[in-house]
Every structure is written in C-alpha cells, then in structure tokens.
C-alpha cells in the first residue's frame, strides 16, 4: 500500500524550502488548481503537499515608490479587484481575470501559472511584456530572474529542486503606456487558450510609438517575444501598415504544434490577428492615459 500523502503548511519561506529540500517527492502549491487535476489525471502523487498560502510574504499587493510587489501566492481574484494595480496594468489584470472561473481565480496565482509552465498559460505573456521579475528563494539567499526566463519548456522551469518563487516585482509603467491581453478560445470562459497575445505600448505626446513589447502564448513551447513586431512599431505612428507588420511578424514568430485545440496554420494566423488587436488596444489605452498629461 502506498504511503498516504502528507500535507504541510509552513509559516515561513525558509521552513517551506527546508521541507522541499528534505523530501525529493514533495511539491509546493499555492492554488493547486493545476496540481490537483494533474494528480487526478494520473500524474504521480507527491509524497508531501506544501501549502504556501500560509506564508505572509507570499500573499499581498503593495506599491513602494514606483515598484509594485505582488506575492507569488496572491489569488488572481485579488489582483483583478485591485483598482490601483489594474489602472496601471489593465492587460495583466485582464489576463489574470481570464483564468478558469471565479472559483478558480479565488485560488490560482501568478506563481503557479508561471511554474506550471503550460505553453497556453494566460498570465505569462502579460507578465513578460511588462518586464516582470520573479524573486526566487534559494539555498544561497534570493535571486531575481525575469519572468520570461522562468519557463524553459512545457512543464519545465529554471527553478532548482528546493527553490520557490516568493514574489514578483513590476515597475510602474511610464506615462502614456498601457498593456492589453487577448486570447482565443472556443468558449467565452473556462477554457484553455488556442492562442494568447499580450502587448504593451508607450506613446510620445505626438502619437509616435516610443516603446513596444509583444508576446504570444500557446504557439511555442514557451512564451514567444516578437522583436520584429516591436521594431516595426517603434519610432513611428500606429498606422495600419505598422499594425499589419505586427501581424505578419507575430505569425512568423510562432512555432506552434498541431493539437486538438488548433492546427499550426490556424494558430499562426490567429497569433497575427490577436497580436495586431492587442497592440491596437494597448495603444488606445496609452493614448488615453492621463498620468503623464501634465509633463
């Protein structure tokens, strides 16, 4: 008979790390909204489930100066409901509010969404266009890694066996800057992205694009940044031609697979469409952004 699974709810990061280091079969969890279905679907049961939600530092949304710090185990429902955060990062809030259902969002977290490393996850593209950083607790202290570097392949991350993401940091966007996230699913909710697209745009007062970031989900083993799209945007106004160049670049950047959610050809096409639309939405929001109006 298999040993029954153990459960631990440490109060500190160090305690959690010690538990993880001591038991190679242990897994940490926050929302467990991916982990439990995986176990039910037949993945090996962890010998121990380590609950991170009791660790104070891992939950909460705070702004100090121009830096936002979001606990890695903060439920996305809290992020979506945080008016101050959502005003600065509307696209990241959108992505956070698209995961599963209300019930799921009361449990699920950015940390989990990132380390589960599903190519189709919703928040990673939006974290990446905003240049989010993950603060990771390690044996030697803490290290900071770009969100874009965390997932290294489907289900694989850069985290060591005893490492835990503690929190995320984000710089407040400069004036006339905004993000957007779009995804295509057959339903309207409770579904997994066929394609996801995040964009962030900064505009000069004359409407020229001064900075841009485009990232795609579900079209490659990990999130794909689209530098060609960014280059096509920067330095000029947001013309139809520029948007079409974004679409072309996004389609070209995809390395999708055929699976039951979509074929290669379809994913390429939709990646272009969604990237173009996400850029347009982000630019509209940036143009309407009043934070830098007086400067």
């Amino acid at each position: 008979m298999l040993a029954p699974m153990k459960y631990a709810a440490p109060a500190t990061v160090e305690e959690a790390r010690a538990l993880l280091a001591a038991d190679g079969g242990a897994r940490v969890f926050a929302g467990a909204t991916d982990l439990i279905p995986q176990i039910r679907a037949g993945r090996p049961e962890p010998s121990m489930m380590i609950d991170l939600k009791r660790i104070d530092r891992l939950s909460g949304i705070a702004r100090a100066g121009s830096t936002w710090t979001i606990g890695a185990a903060t439920p996305t429902a809290d992020i979506v409901a945080h008016a101050g955060f959502a005003a600065e990062f509307p696209g990241l809030a959108e992505a956070s509010g698209l995961i599963g259902s209300d019930q799921i969002q009361n449990r699920c977290t950015w940390g989990g969404n990132l380390v589960n490393a599903s190519p189709a996850a919703d928040t990673p593209p939006a974290l990446i266009v905003n240049d989010a950083k993950a603060v990771i607790a390690s044996a030697g202290g803490e290290r900071t890694v770009a969100a874009a570097e965390v997932a290294t392949g489907p289900g694989a991350t850069c985290l060591g066996a005893d490492e835990i993401i503690v929190e995320f940091t984000l710089a407040s966007p400069p004036p006339r800057t905004a993000d957007a996230y779009l995804r295509l699913i057959p339903r309207t909710e409770m579904d997994i992205a066929v394609v996801g697209a995040a964009a962030r745009v900064t505009l000069a007062p004359d409407g020229a694009v001064t900075a841009a970031a485009v990232a795609l989900g579900a079209v490659a083993p990990t999130v794909v940044r689209v530098p060609d799209a960014e280059a096509a945007l920067i330095g000029g106004p947001l013309t139809d031609d520029a948007l079409e160049a974004v679409a072309q670049a996004a389609s070209a950047a995809c390395r999708p697979i055929d699976d039951k959610r979509g074929t290669v050809a379809y994913r390429r096409r939709v990646a272009g469409v969604l990237a173009r639309r996400a850029v347009a939405i982000a630019a509209d929001r940036a143009a309407a952004d009043q934070r830098g109006a007086s400067s």
Binding site: M1, L184, P186, R187, T188, E189, M190, D191, I192, V194, K260, G262, T263, Y266, R269, V270, V273, L274
Partner: protein, 769 residues
C-alpha cells in the same frame, strides 16, 4: 381556462427549496449502513477479443470485497431496448469481445470508493485487437469487419417509406446536399449512479434499486429480467435526478451488475459514474449522415423529397437504432411535400451506443429539411422566409397525414413564423445586414430562420391517480418520473385547480415502483400531456364523488356543492357554514351513509389515460450570429423562439424548458462534438476537450408562444421539453451559413468551431461583388 384559475400562472417550483438548500437527495448522496462501493474496469480497446482477465491483483488490494468478470456473474446477454434482435444482445459485462472504449468488463467492490477505484486499476486484461470501425457508412460497405458476425452484416435497423413509382417528378430543379448531424453527449450534470440494497419492502429476496432514471419501471423490469426475479420483487426508485435529456431513459448494464453484487454480497452496493466515464459510457445522441434531394419548381413549390440517412447506432444497438423511425415520420417537416421517399439504415460501429437525446430523431429530421430548404432558397435566390411561407401547411389541413405516415393533430405554422419574425424585427435585421456588408464590416452578420414541427407523447398511455387521505392530504400519483422538469409543481397545480386545495395539502408521488402501481416514465415530452391529463381527470372524478357525498350529507343539490374558498373542503354555494372538510369527506366516502347507488370506498380515482395518438408541437426560431472573419469565431448574439406547446399550464416551467432546449440546440450547432480517433479512442472524454457551453456563451433569449391546443387531451397540452433543441439548431446553423454566404459558402457541417469556420473563409473564393 376558467377565470381565477391557477393554471397558466408562473407558480414557483415546489422542488426548488430542497434543491437549493442541498436537502434533496441524489443517488450519490445515499449511504445506508454497510455500504460497499463498486468500480468498473472498462475496455481500453475499441474492438478486441478478450483473451483473459486477471482480477487476482485486485482481489488482494486493501479493502476489496470482491472482483468479478462476466464469468463470475453468469448473467445472460440482454437487449437494452425492447425492439433489438437477440443477435445484438449485450452482456452486462463484456464476456468474449469488447466493442467500444469504455465498455465495462469487470467490476471491483470495496469498502470505500477510492479503494474500489485503486483496485480496479490492478485488473489485467489480455486483449486480442480487432479492427476499429468508427464511420457508419464504412460499416455498411461490403467487406467491413463485422461486430456481430452472426448478424452477417453491421446493419442493425432499417426504416423505409417509398414514394409511388413516378411520384418524384414535376420539378424544374433539384437541390441536393450531404449533411452530417454530428455525435453529441447528453452530459447531464449528474452522471449515472445506482445503489442497490438487498430486500424490498420486507421481501428479503427482493432488491431495492435507487437509480438515475427517467423510467423507474423500465429499470425495474431490466433488473428483474436479468436476475430472474418477478418484477414485483424489485423496487426501483429514482430520487432527485440531475437531468437526463433522454440519456437516462433506458437502463444501464451497471444497474443489473450492481443489483447482482448486492444480492451476492448481501450488502448495499453503490456505483457513481465519473465525468470521464460518463462521456464514454452514457449513450450519445445524433450521429447521422444524411443525403437529401428536394425537387421543386422555379416558383419555389416543393414537389418531392428524397432522403437517405445512415445512423450510427454504436456498439450495441439500443434506442438509437429505433430513432430513424422518428426521423422518417418527420421527414417533410412543416411543409406540404406531395411525395417523400425515405430510407434510413442503422449501423453498428465500435463506439459508445447511441440513445435518446433531447429531440431523439426529430432534430435530425428538422435540421436536414431546413438545410435543404435553405439550399433551395439560395439556388432560387429567394428569401428563405418567402420560400418557407409558400410551402408551409395551413391550419385548415389538419389533421394532416404526412407522406411518411405521421398524423398531425393541429398546427398554425404561419402564425408562429409571423410572430417570430415580428419579434426579431426580421426586415430590420436584413437591412442592417445589407449595411454592414456594404461597409465591409469584418464582423460577418448572419440571420437564420427555422420552422419546425415535432412529435411528442407517442407512447400515449400513462397511469395517474388522485386520493384524498384520512387527514385531508391529497395524494397524486403518476407513472412518469421527474428529473428536473418540475412535475411536483405542475401536478400540484392541476390538483389545486380541480379540488381547490393549497399546494401544501398536496403530495405528488412518483418515481417509486412500490408507491405507484405502473407507468412508462418521462420520455418524448409526454409527462404533462399524458400523466398530467391522468391526474387532472382523476381529480375531477374525485371531486364528483365528493360533491355527491357532500350534497347527500348537507341535504343540498349536487349542482350547489362547490370547493371552499379556503381549500378546506366542499361547501354549499353561498352558505360557507354548510360545509364538509376533506377529512370528513374522506371518512364519509368509506362509511355507510352514502347517496343511492354509491358503493363505499376510498375517496380516490385512478386511470390509465390514453390520448390515443401523438401530438405535434411546432414553432419558429430566428437566430442572429456574428462571425469574426479573421478568426472564424462565431457567436450567437440573438435568439428568438416562438414555440407552440398548446395550452400552457405554468409559463415559468415552459420558459425553463425552452431556454435549456435552445441552448442544447445552439450548442450542437456551435460547440459540441464527440470525437474518436481512427483507432476508436475517445478524444472528448472530459469537459476540457468536450466543449459544453455555459450561460456566458449564449445571449438572453427572446421567447414567446402561440397556443394551439391539441384536441387529444383535456389540458390541450403538447410537449415542450424538446422543442427548443429541435427549433434552435437549424436557425443557428442557417445563421452561420448566412453570415458566410457572401463568400459563396452554401453549406458547412457542424459544429462551427472557430478553426472550421476560419478554414472555410480562407478556402472560399472571394465574392465577385
């Protein structure tokens, strides 16, 4: 209805407080002392000979009470629907051959559900693979591998209605099409479950079967036949049941096996299906391939219809093998078509068996006729509404016998169509569509219109009774079995209407074969029209007996005896002090002082009401969709439904049926499809892969009704449970095709997933306009 009638009012459902507070008990909630739990081992192969099954490992697992295969059971193969020839008999556990992924072939019983599930994984099955067969047309090709070699072919059923020689003429043109009505899952929120306790009402040798069933008497008979028991020794009970949609109409092999286990082990045994099991084990619906040809004149008058259909009936022919007969009877839809030539074949394949699913044979007929009419309208360049109007049957033609033998009671199809078009603002929609097309709107707007007629209550007889008990409670019994419809509410309304008693003095008893003497059950939208009529008529009989008793005792004329305003009993009209309460009347009924010629007896009446024939509800739907031309994403943005189910007893219950029905039809058009790979492996065995939509995928519906009462029953009621599904699907399907029509697209098979629509757009030639 008389003025002041409770009928026609949106009485809130009496069932809801228990459901909303969790007090209602479903099979899975029941846990009698000593309960053991069963888990089934299911075939992982679509088609294979069973070379061996080793349950040794399972027997040794913790908590296991026993593990059994077909050999241990020793139960004969059963037809799981009465018309099925014995050659297709299905053993409750697969014995020599498995014929679909998910077919149960062994069962493990343990002290807990987890122990049973863990042990079931230890059962080892040695398969000798045989060829899988997914496509029903391929199954009927010469040389196809045979599922039942003794049958000589894979043909399980055949229905035919031939036109007279030479009748398929008089046309100027013929339009034709091949339509796939894809396989879908009923997917009730409560999956299948059964709990069997040894003993039934003091009979130690009997069994009590709690099951998720629409037809407890059918479950009783199946268990009794399999175990060799007299049906009177099997008590079947359907407690709260969370949806069925037809898929819980017929009993499941697990009912029989669980009953055998309970008797063998001498303790209660329960089995509750998981969602993934449900999606491969519960009967699926639809899965037709249809070839239609319509001959018509240049003016748009229909002359003839030639229809060919192949129905996939799955691995074991069941209700699904019989449904093409409904498709045949409804082949010409609401139209006058002088000649119809119909032929349908049911083919066995190595897939989950097909059964009844909301509409059951009629949606397949309606979708096909509406599709070919749309194709004809496109060919003639005529508005699809105009073409329909030219050919609809008119009210003075009823009763009308169709060329395929349906005798339709009544109908006013133009009126339903008019009302639907008016509610939708059809002309405005077309004007908006023209404007949007002119300005090249990337959101393609489509409008679809359907007119349908369907058939309900074909099994025309049902048991009902009403009894005033000693304490004055009125007990209404019915042979039907509610599984979400709200029968307790509607039957209480009927009793209250006749006897004047408030709802809290009425008890509706159904879904228990020891509490109701006989019955058929809740299928084919029959419950209100037949069982409701039985309750209504017997309530009247009880009232008449009570009035005669009251007249005799109160020394008044029978004509002057009326129901008391406060519901307490009967009174002399205008003289409330001269009254008898229901307990007094019940006591008097069995006593000695009765009117001349009245024998003592309970204040009760029972009936096997027979309306003699089926009723034919009808209606018209208008759907509006928007298709994102860049992604292919199609969304239903408006849906107008005008349904005629005759006289409406409770508009709220009707609305609920219509809303759910529309959603299931729209879902088939836009979202749902059960898929297999070429080896017969299910690809849609969970809700991540099977796209069951929720409330956010559909708009707020605009519903209305015309009321054309049927002459066949005293309520004037026809069925409403399936109309929404039958009417909505062709309208949504037509709307999507209409949206794509400027691209030259005339037909696409469902479901209209984003990628399929995108592909059609990409592959279409650009419009010359």
């Amino acid at each position: 209805m008389p003025s002041g009638s409770i009928l026609g009012n949106a009485v809130p459902r009496l069932e809801d407080p228990d459901l909303l507070t969790g007090a209602a008990r479903f099979v899975a909630d029941l846990a009698p002392p000593g309960l053991a739990h069963a888990a089934f081992v299911r075939s992982t192969m679509a088609h294979a000979a069973i070379a061996g099954i080793d349950v040794g490992g399972a027997e040794q697992a913790p908590g296991v009470i026993g593990a059994f295969t077909a050999e241990g059971l020793g139960l004969d193969p059963q037809p799981f629907f009465y018309i099925i020839p014995p050659v297709f008999g299905r053993p409750p556990l697969a014995a020599e051959v498995v014929r679909f992924v998910g077919e149960p072939l062994a069962v493990v019983v343990a002290e807990t559900p987890a122990q049973a599930a863990d042990a079931a994984e230890l059962v080892e099955v040695d398969y000798e693979p045989r060829p899988a067969l997914i496509d029903p047309e391929a199954a009927l090709e010469p040389g196809a591998p045979l599922l039942f070699p003794a049958n000589g072919s894979n043909l399980a059923s055949e229905y035919s209605s031939k036109a007279e020689p030479g009748a398929l003429g008089g046309h100027d043109l013929v339009v034709s099409g091949r339509f796939v009505n894809q396989r879908v899952a009923a997917a009730p929120i409560e999956p299948t479950a059964v709990l069997v306790e040894p003993g039934a009402g003091g009979d130690d040798g009997g069994v009590t079967v709690w099951c998720t069933s629409q037809t407890p008497f059918g479950a009783r008979d199946a268990v009794a036949a399999a175990l060799g028991l007299d049906p009177g020794r099997v008590r079947a009970i359907a407690p709260a049941v969370g949806g069925g949609f037809g898929a819980k109409a017929a009993p499941y092999p697990e009912f029989v096996v669980t009953a055998w286990l309970a008797r063998r082990l001498g303790r209660p045994v329960k089995w509750v299906e998981t969602r993934s099991e449900n999606l491969v084990n519960m009967v699926h619906g639809r899965d037709y391939v249809q070839y239609y040809e319509l001959g018509l004149t240049r003016d748009g008058d229909f002359r003839w219809l030639r229809a060919r259909a192949t129905a996939n009936v799955g691995a074991y022919p069941a209700v699904g093998a019989f449904l093409p007969s409904f498709t045949m009877s409804m082949a010409s839809g609401p139209y006058q078509i002088p000649a119809v030539d119909f032929h349908a074949s049911g083919a066995v394949t190595t897939t989950t068996p097909l059964g009844a699913f909301r509409g059951a044979g009629r949606p397949e007929a309606t979708a096909a006729i509406e599709r070919i009419v749309d194709l004809a309208a496109a060919e003639l360049d005529m508005d699809p509404v105009e073409l329909r109007r030219r050919n609809l049957l008119s009210p003075d033609q009823f009763p009308y016998e169709t060329p395929t033998g349906a005798v339709m009671d009544c109908g006013d199809y133009q009126r339903a169509l008019d009302q639907a078009l008016e509610t939708a603002g059809y002309d405005d929609l077309r004007a908006e569509q023209r404007r949007r097309r002119l300005r090249g709107d990337p959101k393609l707007m489509g409008v679809g219109v359907s007119v349908y007629v369907e058939v309900t209550g074909g099994l025309s007889q049902e048991y009902g009774s009403v009894e005033v008990t000693a304490d004055g409670t009125v007990v209404a019994r019915a042979g039907t079995s509610s599984h979400g419809q709200g029968h307790a509410t509607s039957f209480t309304q009927l009793v209250g209407e006749v006897l004047g008693v408030p709802p809290d003095r009425v008890r509706v008893v159904h879904s228990d074969t020891f509490e109701v003497p006989r019955g058929i059950g809740t299928i084919a939208s029959r419950s209100l029209q037949i069982a409701g009529s039985a309750v209504f008529k017997t309530a009247h009989e009880v009232l008449e007996r009570a009035r005669r008793i009251a007249a005799h005792r109160l020394e008044a004329s029978v004509e002057d005896i009326v129901t008391a305003d406060d519901g307490s009993g009967l009174t002399v009209a205008g003289v409330p002090a001269r009254a008898m309460s229901w307990p007094e009347l019940a006591a008097a009924s069995t006593g000695g002082d009765l009117p001349d010629g009245m024998a003592p007896g309970e204040l009760a009446a029972e009936i096997d009401f027979d309306q003699g024939a089926a009723t034919y509800p009808f209606g018209a739907h208008v759907a509006v969709v928007e298709v994102d031309s860049e992604t292919g994403d199609a969304r239903l943005v408006r849906h107008v439904a005008v349904d005629d189910c005759g006289r409406i007893l409770n508009p709220m219950l009707v609305r609920g049926q219509v809303h759910g029905g529309i959603t299931q039809g729209a879902a088939q058009a836009l979202y749902e499809q059960v898929l297999y790979d070429e080896d017969g492996n299910p690809r849609t065995a969970n809700f991540a892969d099977y796209c069951l939509p929720g409330p956010t995928e559909v708009p707020a519906y605009e519903t209305a009704h015309t009321e054309t009462p049927t002459p066949l029953n005293p309520l004037g009621a026809k069925g409403i449970g399936e109309s929404g599904t039958i009417g909505s699907l062709p309208a949504v399907q037509s709307a999507v095709i209409d949206a794509l029509s400027p691209l030259g697209i005339r037909h696409l098979d469902m479901p209209y997933t984003p990628e399929k629509v995108w592909r059609a757009i990409t592959e279409s030639a650009p419009s010359p306009a």
